[in-house]
């Protein structure tokens, strides 16, 4: 039985392939699985990476597969259960992977994958309107602590999402119980930003990538960034403001768990070269992405670190039930 199944499938493919006589000679090829639909950040990351690979090596062929559903869980389930048969197939994933597996939304975690490289890191930001009564994060924290004013904070996704977690990390660092925050979820960062501009809320938590353009255009003001880099565009990191909060929404590349050590080194080397090309740098600039190159074991260590950090804050929020 078992050997018949792929045979039939292959036969079907063969018939069509022959009919079109478009069978390609295999060059270096990569197949990227994207756990989201077309048009989003993960999709853009995968396609930008593929673009850079093809620019570097004209012979290479990169294909993409959008597997949305289950908050990324369907792509994970597919990738893990077919690990042995997937050849040259990589999975693009991001920070919600850890959040959702901690929440128990799907049974797998990053341990069921072989981390190859972290590529991009998008820090969180706290932003206000340009004419806001809040001049700094200190003002907001004071208002939150005082509890006299009702301060609503808009975020681009449901409770328990990265925006909510970023805010909770900041609140915890200030000694505020994150459960008492008035977090309003909007359907996407853009709508949260509009709610901020319209005055429905006074504070917004979002990703830097989504907010930078508005900050540069002067409609909103970013009061703090959860990175540990030098200041840019008049923004200060929370670390420089004396708050030990560093948190990124990373995006990275994973191979199946069964990948051989040899192939793993090959892929690491490939990512290393690709991320150094001008083509990749151009893509980064194009989307306003912050590079974060972590290779192999460094990436695994980073993920482990993130999991501990997230377990802490999510338990505090009551998102993980002991």
């Amino acid at each position: 039985m078992k050997c018949q199944v792929p045979l039939l499938r292959r036969l079907g493919l063969l018939i069509i392939a022959l009919a079109l006589s478009s069978a390609h000679v295999a060059a270096e090829r990569l197949h990227l699985i994207i756990p989201a639909g077309p048009g989003g950040g993960l999709d853009a990351t995968a396609r930008a990476l593929g673009n850079a690979v093809v620019t570097m090596d004209q012979q290479a062929k990169v294909s993409y597969e959008n597997r949305s559903g289950g908050g990324g869980g369907k792509a994970m389930a597919y990738f893990v259960s077919n690990a042995d048969t997937l050849k040259n197939t990589l999975l693009v994933n991001s920070a919600p992977l850890i959040v959702r597996s901690l929440q128990g939304l799907f049974p797998h975690s990053y341990r069921d994958l072989t981390p190859i490289a972290g590529l991009i890191a998008d820090p969180g930001v706290i932003a206000v309107r340009k004419d806001s009564k809040f001049q700094s994060w200190r003002d907001i924290a004071a208002a939150l602590k005082g509890g006299k004013d009702r301060v609503f904070i808009a975020g681009g996704s449901v409770k328990g999402s990265l925006d909510h977690i970023t805010l909770s990390l900041l609140a915890q660092a200030e000694g505020i119980d994150p459960r008492r925050l008035r977090y309003l979820a909007y359907d996407g960062g853009a709508k949260a930003q509009l709610a901020l501009l319209s005055g429905e809320v006074d504070v917004m938590v979002s990703g830097l990538g989504e907010t930078l353009a508005a900050h540069r255009a002067g409609t909103v003001r970013i009061l703090g960034v959860t990175n540990d880099r030098d200041d840019m565009d008049g923004m200060t990191s929370f670390v420089d403001q004396g708050l030990d909060v560093v948190f990124y929404n990373w995006r990275g590349i994973f191979a199946p768990l069964s990948t051989s050590a040899e192939r793993r080194e090959e892929l690491k080397a490939l990512m290393n070269t690709v991320t150094n090309t001008a083509a990749w740098q151009e893509q980064l600039a194009r989307y306003g992405w912050q590079p974060m190159f972590l290779s192999g074991d460094d990436f695994t260590a980073y993920l482990a670190e993130q999991e501990i950090l997230l377990t802490g804050v999510m338990t505090g929020l009551g998102l993980i039930r002991p």
Partner: protein
């Protein structure tokens, strides 16, 4: 299937929905909110049950196409559903475009198209066009699971 049975089914759907509402896990901090994850579903479910009751009381003698469905008329529906089921199951181990050809063949035949050249032409042409457009031109990969 009678109208009464349909109303009964709708009422059962409403009741089952209301039961499921009780199983929604609320996060610890929003249980006290004016409106939480359960509120609106509760309203929808209750309203549905009420509306179905209202319909049952108001119009007892409502009739539609299917108030006295004959077996002859339901047969194609049964066959089409069966063919779609076979198509869905076959996707697990057959290539999409091949399975699609099979589905076309089956549905054309049961719908009464008996001219073989027409059937064969359609069964070959449509999957082929689909394959070329989707996988070659748009470069989308069609995964099967």
């Amino acid at each position: 299937m009678s109208f009464r049975l349909l109303l009964l089914t709708l009422f059962a759907i409403g009741a089952a929905y209301l039961t499921l509402v009780g199983q929604i896990e609320l996060d610890p901090w929003s249980a006290q909110d004016t409106i939480n994850s359960r509120t609106l579903p509760q309203i929808y479910g209750a309203l549905l049950c009420l509306a179905v009751l209202g319909l049952a009381l108001g119009q007892r003698d409502r009739t539609g196409d299917m108030s006295h469905p004959s077996l002859h008329k339901l047969k194609p529906l049964f066959w089409l559903s069966a063919l779609i089921c076979v198509f869905i199951l076959s996707l697990v181990w057959l290539n999409l475009w091949v399975a699609l050809g099979g589905l076309l063949f089956g549905t054309l035949w049961t719908m009464g198209e008996k001219r073989l050249p027409v059937i064969v032409a359609l069964c070959l042409a449509i999957p082929l066009i689909g394959f070329v457009l989707v996988e070659q031109v748009l470069q989308m990969t069609v995964p099967l699971s």
